[in-house]
């Protein structure tokens, strides 16, 4: 690693397992170094991606058009009812609004939109400029809420006040405000009821997990926020347990729910066969219900019988290949390391945009010696380490895809605009299949060595 030229200020964000990992912890959660071409987004983005799947809400972006444009229907979140969330609304602030303030425009927008769409809840996001010009979002939202009798919630998400994680927190605060104290009906239930946090129902993933839970005898009260509706969110306190998949975005809400309503929580992962099975067992054990524990084993056994032949097929094809991982959250990165092992592959580089210290500790523990660990990487570092580590594949988001392809490296998109599910047992098969389709594509043989051939 010594030979690699890192930008000044980036040294603390890069580690190699087995070298200085024990003595020098990696830096994380810090602001990006200016000019380092970070892959990260902003506070607004964090808030938007968490809240956006609330399907019947009206999402109004208070700001210039760009911010709304880039995030319009950004997620592949599916829904089962109203789909107002897929429309992009913006106050489209202009120069004169920046000078004279945008409050009137915001109020006018709410006056037009609420009667027209009659949403049960409205989220109003603030963007960079709104934070600067000092529009009183709270006051405008409050007035509109009183006027129309629906909750109109300000989401204070000015882009510059921190990283995406702050946006996650802001979103959780907003969701928490919607949640009402539990009702007494809880005691009369025969089946355990839980909330599922941190699944945005990309390509229907939350539905897959709900179906397993249903089979083993557990009802899902509300999913945060995949395919969720206002009415469901209000009832979120009526659950005995919160399970969290995407910890980066939802750990905070789980903590708040525990504090306020004494709902315990546990982290789960439904990425990969092993993690999915472990998580289901963990949930079953929590219920302490022998019936549920037995059914869980049955469901797992049945699913394994169904998917393992496929998975082992892929494992044979992929054995010994090397993967690089660069994803948003730490928990996902951890799961991916395990999931790659399941299909016979080794992770040689792993990084995240918003991983927390605890995540990096686990990554440091489970990664193989020599693995490069990165926080808030940039294209130059990704390129360098993928090449020096000999990666055959990169897992990342859309921005990283062209880089991998230009380097002749296979690629799997694990970001929020996916159109196919990667969670649960079937998701594990999909994942293995996708890894197979990209690594084992014959095009790599055809293009190997590039197109400059003197003898042609």
């Amino acid at each position: 690693m010594e030979d690699v030229v890192l930008l000044k200020g980036r040294e603390q964000f890069v580690r190699q397992k087995g070298e200085r990992h024990q003595t020098l912890p990696i830096s994380c959660g810090a602001e990006s170094v200016a000019g380092c071409v970070s892959q990260r987004a902003c506070v607004y983005c964090g808030a938007r991606v968490v809240l956006n799947p609330v399907a019947d809400a009206l999402h109004l972006v208070h700001g210039p058009i760009g911010c709304a444009s880039y995030t319009w229907d950004i997620r592949g979140s599916l829904n089962s009812g109203k789909s107002l969330y897929r429309e992009g609304f913006s106050t489209d602030l202009r120069e004169k609004d920046i000078i004279f303030g945008g409050e009137t425009k915001l109020a006018a927008a709410l006056d037009e939109l609420i009667p027209k769409y009659q949403p049960p809840v409205v989220f109003v996001y603030s963007t960079c400029v709104v934070g600067i010009i000092g529009d009183d979002l709270d006051a405008v939202c409050k007035a509109a809420a009183e006027k129309y009798g629906v909750p109109v919630l300000p989401v204070q998400s000015s882009g510059f006040v921190g990283t995406k994680s702050i946006g996650y927190q802001t979103a959780c605060d907003v969701l928490f405000k919607l949640i009402e104290p539990p009702t007494t009906k809880l005691l009369l239930r025969r089946r355990p009821v839980i909330n599922y946090l941190g699944d945005f129902n990309l390509a229907g993933e939350a539905w897959i997990i709900r179906s397993y839970l249903k089979k083993i005898g557990i009802d899902v009260n509300v999913v945060f926020t995949g395919d969720s509706r206002y009415e469901e969110i209000r009832r979120a306190a009526n659950a005995e347990l919160n399970i969290i998949q995407c910890a980066g975005s939802m750990f905070y809400l789980a903590q708040k729910l525990e504090e306020a309503y004494h709902i315990p929580f546990m982290q789960v992962s439904f990425l990969g066969v092993e993690d999915t099975a472990d998580s289901l067992r963990k949930i079953a054990r929590f219920t302490n219900d022998p019936g549920i524990i037995r059914r869980t084993e049955e469901v797992i056994a049945a699913e394994l019988r169904r998917v393992m032949p496929d998975i082992s097929g892929y494992r044979t094809a992929l054995s010994g290949k090397k993967a690089a991982v660069y994803v948003g959250g730490g928990f996902k990165a951890i799961s991916l390391i395990r999931q790659f092992r399941e299909i016979g592959m080794e992770v040689v580089m792993v990084g995240t945009q918003t991983g927390r210290r605890e995540d990096y500790e686990i990554i440091g523990d489970i990664a193989n010696d020599g693995t490069i660990i990165l926080d808030d990487a940039n294209p130059a570092e990704l390129e360098r380490f993928m090449l020096t580590q000999g990666a055959d594949l990169l897992v990342g988001g859309v921005k990283e895809r062209p880089l991998a392809y230009k380097l002749g490296i296979a690629f799997v998109d694990h970001n929020h605009d996916r159109k196919h599910p990667l969670a649960g047992f079937e998701g594990a098969v999909n994942f293995a299949h996708e890894v197979y389709t990209t690594i084992c594509s014959p095009v790599w043989n055809a293009v190997k060595g590039g197109v400059v051939r003197g003898d042609l």
């Binding site: 000019g35 760009g66 911010c67 927008a109 010009i133 062209p402 590039g450 400059v452």
Partner: protein, 468 residues
Amino acid sequence: MEISDVPVQQGTQSRSIAENPCNMCMPMGGIIALKGIEGAMVILHGSQGCSTYMRRHIAEHFDEPVDVGSSSLNEKGTIYGGSDQLKTAIDNIRKAYDPAVIGVLTTCLAETTGEDVHRIVEEYCRERGVSRSMFITAPTPGYGGSHGDGYWYTLRCVVEQLVLPLEQATPHEGVNIIVPITFSPADVREMKRTLSAMDIPYTIFPDISETMDRPYGATYTKMSSGGTPVAVLHNMGGAKATIEFGSPGDERKFPGKYLEEKFGVPYYRIASPIGLVQTDEFFSLLKKITGKSMAHETAAERGRLMDAMIDGHKHAFSGRCTLFGDADLTYALAGFTTEIGMYPRVIASDSRNRHWKEAVSAITADIGEPVTIFSDTDFGTVRRESEIGGSNIAIGHSDGKYLEEHSGIPLVRLGFPIHDRIGGQRICSTLYAGTNRLLDTCVNTLLERKFSTYRKRMYDQYFPQIER
């Protein structure tokens, strides 16, 4: 998933709101403009999110790595001024990329807090002892206009800052060809091929043909080759003439206009060469400037296009279209669709300028059928008007997929961004051969729709009557 439960929006559009945005913001256009200069890197002065979102959009359209730096302005920089962060960003970009040119654009945030990038960059140059000519600075507040506006404005800044005064430039026989943001890399290549065949020396600006569509090679370099060379940019003031493709607008914003005012380079702004007549206009202009006629191969392509126009004329005439998006593209398409009889029903642009509306109205004045024209609009309006007007085909970028999803109007993808299909960078729709491809695509889209619906339509309409 239900999509039909979103009501068609009624009533007139209000200016306090955009329902499903039709456009993006200024710095986005600025990035693409700068990516057409050889050895250029771009830094956005503002918060991190803007550059990340724009990179994602651009990467998805071109399927190319798009590195864009950000000064990653935080709360401190926002309150106390961000010049230190911008300077660090420049240092880091120089170290990691060693670019020949650095374009510094602003975002909403930096503009609102009053960051003066010209001054900061001058200071930087003094402090680090580097030449100011290494930098292009363009204030591009996101709220100042659409991505198209940002594109033209940035190009204007480039010529203002890089073109050398006449005393230092050498007059030459070259023609400046300035292209709009909707010229794909393939369009630029087609233009180069055509001009080379005519033996006309030229400067294409900006030239994204290679930078945003680079060939797969044995080795990868962080900086792509290609782009308009800076040395060539320096000399644009000595050119024989400038041909700029785009819709009419406020001329003070256009780079070609500046070259005319400052250096006396004759300036022509015409529609993008899409369609027979508009492409002819381009060649007649070239002839006027250089005395040269189109090459044989181009003449043959022209003949083939006419042949295709005849082959497809009946089918084309069954089409009534919605054109939306970038002002320059919709302007050229208004001419093209009117010419083939696939008359526009709705033409909608993100442009805030009145000239565009007047020009497009003039093109469609004689078709004898109603057409609705909107500037500065959103998809809520486009969709509503397309349904009312009975459009059966739409041409524009990927966000128009909502017309397809909600209203069943098939979309011919063209322009920027195309993020739900591959090959946005390879679509060539200009000059005779490109027009021919576009014509085929439009006609085939209409045919596909016809063939896939007529059985059911006829059955539903007539069979129940026989039964009864």
